[in-house]
């Protein structure tokens, strides 16, 4: 079982091409890191996988555990086990964190069934504490007025609560200080399991020192131009992305 992306091309609706033929297979149980300079299409890839309406797929296919991912609606993809921790999590005024998560969890139950509220709050508060979040955040509107780091943690909290099989983390490290980075990484590491995979998007080695990837890819101008092991991370840390730029041009 795996997430298989074949020759994926996508563009902004009526706009420029951004993904130019991505081929990638992430088997269950593995952590894949995606690195690449700004603007190479990392966030676009993650949003396209979730079905963001701003983009149009022009070619290719994506299979998730044998299902045609691209034929599914955004919410179906989530319920089928896909999760994206956004680079820029959105503020939703007037909808509390707790109600938001309850709605997301209840959507996963058979119609008419409700979650056990006591268990839900117990689990929620436990996970918030493990992420170093103030439990008062349960009754605050989703991400509204949160600092950059608080928003990132909140997305990781959602990931923990929704228990996905394929989780994408888009620059979750940006905005986190050293301590927060360790706390969040510990949380992700605790979720690593043979039945789950991660796609970790980052610019920096420091996150990958905590969340050791099995495979590392470099995305450049909408294509995966390098695949390797941790040595690729070390190389990029030292030399930056100039080597891909030079070779590709």
């Amino acid at each position: 079982m795996s997430l298989i992306i074949r020759d994926l091309h996508a563009r902004v609706k009526d706009g420029a091409d951004i993904l130019n033929g991505i081929n990638l297979e992430i088997p269950k149980g593995e952590v894949h890191a995606i690195m690449g300079p700004n603007g190479s299409g990392k966030s676009t890839l993650s949003k396209v996988l979730c079905g963001h309406p701003a983009y149009e797929i022009t070619a290719g296919s994506v299979e998730m555990d044998g299902q045609n991912l691209l034929a599914m609606s955004v919410d179906e993809r989530s319920r089928a086990g896909l999760f994206l921790a956004f680079q820029y999590p959105v503020e939703v005024p007037g909808v509390t964190n707790a109600n938001f998560l309850r709605a997301a969890l209840e959507a996963r139950l058979p119609k008419g069934e409700e979650i056990n509220v006591v268990d839900f709050y117990k689990q929620l508060r436990g996970r918030m504490k493990s992420l170093g979040m103030d439990t008062k955040f349960t009754s605050r509107a989703v991400n509204e007025g949160f600092s950059g780091g608080e928003k990132k943690r909140n997305d990781v909290l959602q990931m923990m609560m929704l228990d996905p099989t394929y989780a994408i983390l888009d620059e979750t490290d940006s905005g986190l200080d050293v301590d927060a980075l360790r706390i969040v990484s510990d949380g992700v590491n605790a979720m690593r399991a043979p039945f789950r995979s991660f796609m970790v998007i980052t610019h920096y080695k420091r996150l990958l020192d905590y969340i050791r990837p099995d495979v590392v890819h470099v995305l450049y101008k909408g294509r995966l131009v390098r695949t390797g092991g941790f040595e690729l991370v070390d190389y990029i840390e030292e030399h930056g992305f100039d080597f891909v730029r030079n070779e590709e041009e």
Binding site: D75, V92, F100, A141, L162
Partner: protein, 367 residues
């Protein structure tokens, strides 16, 4: 404005008003009249005037229910009338005049001290009901008042509410206006504060047509007065909600704020005409006004006219209006967590309104 010395005087003031002069001169609702210009008002408003005129002198049909542990509320149920209660409106003088001509029913609150339990007043009708609420807060009084209007069938609720808050008083007032889908409602609200804090929230649901005129006035002494007006409404079908507001600062070093939000679906219409008026000499005033609408259909109509008239110096004022469809990124965020489309739409739309309700509660709690 003078505050009555005792509850008795105040209750006298509550009775029916001689409004003939006003009636004789007041214009009939018409599109040519500035205050009735928008959103096809005349059909409903003219019918309302006719209805009120035809039934002048007949008893008001509806019930008044009061829950008040403090005992500072009296039910008004009087047929004799001799005193005057002057109010101004933003366009509906004629309706108010007719309202005041009818036999009085309603509630009179004279609040002293700090009440711990909220006072709840419920007006219910299935025909034409013209209740009046008078809320007078003595110096230092504190209370929370919830007023519910329930109109059934083809009923029509025409309510006048006068709020007077003296030095150091703090009032939190909620109006829940509930209709039947075919009902109509008219609210005329006059709030005046003298170095007092008043928060007012109105929520309308399910009237075929509703109009609300709110005048909030900061009077007399400089400093410390703070009036906040909030509204959060959801309109669908062919519903029309027509809200007019005026924030008047006659004394300086005080604040007023307004946030009115609507979610408008189908063919519904939301009208907002607001005005901030800062009198010459009311220096160091803070006055803000914001009308925000979420449009869920291309056929929905918004008329939003915020306005300012500033005659004083050192004034911080702003007004704004924004109307837009639902934010796509917010919707996508909910969908991406597996929440189905219909529910995601409801959550974001309700959240948009809850935001205003939360602000009302948080300002009421904080001070």
């Amino acid at each position: 404005m003078d505050f009555p010395d005792s509850g008795n005087d105040m209750k006298l003031a509550m009775e029916k008003v001689e409004a003939q002069t006003r009636l004789a001169t007041a214009p009939t609702p018409d599109r040519l009249n500035e205050n009735w210009r928008f959103g096809r008002p005349h059909k409903h408003a003219a019918a309302l005037v006719e209805l009120l005129a035809d039934t002048a002198g007949t008893p008001s049909c509806g019930t008044v229910t009061i829950e008040d542990a403090s005992g500072c509320t009296d039910k008004i149920d009087k047929e004799d009338a001799d005193s005057e209660l002057l109010m101004s409106t933003i366009g509906s003088d004629r309706i108010l005049g007719l309202h005041l001509q009818r036999f009085g029913k309603g509630a009179a609150l004279f609040i002293e001290g700090q009440l711990t339990e909220p006072i709840t007043i419920t007006y219910e009708t299935d025909s034409l009901f013209t209740p009046t609420t008078l809320i007078i807060a003595a110096p230092g009084a504190r209370a929370r008042i919830i007023e519910r209007h329930i109109t059934r069938g083809e009923g029509c609720m025409v309510c006048a509410r006068i709020v007077q808050a003296a030095e150091g008083a703090e009032l939190s007032i909620e109006l829940e206006e509930t209709g039947s889908g075919t009902s109509r409602a008219m609210n005329i609200i006059n709030i005046s504060a003298v170095q007092a804090k008043v928060r007012h929230l109105s929520r309308h649901s399910n009237h075929a047509w509703a109009r609300e005129e709110t005048i909030a006035e900061i009077l007399h002494s400089e400093g410390e007065a703070d009036i906040r007006l909030y509204s959060a409404n959801r309109l669908s079908g062919d519903q029309v909600l027509d809200q007019h507001t005026r924030q008047i600062h006659t004394a300086g070093r005080s604040a007023s704020d307004l946030l009115y939000k609507n979610v408008v679906e189908d063919n519904a219409t939301a009208i907002f005409a607001g005005n901030i008026y800062v009198e010459a000499g009311a220096h160091d005033t803070d006055a803000y006004q914001s009308n925000r609408n979420m449009l869920l259909s291309e056929k929905a109509t918004i008329h939003s006219l915020p306005g300012l008239e500033i005659l004083a110096d050192r004034v911080r004022c702003s007004h704004g209006s924004a109307s837009a469809p639902m934010d796509e990124e917010q919707l996508f965020y909910l969908l991406s967590r597996g929440i189905p489309l219909h529910e995601a739409l409801q959550l974001v739309a309700e959240g948009f309104l809850t935001d205003a309700v939360d602000r009302f509660h948080s300002t009421a709690d904080n001070d």
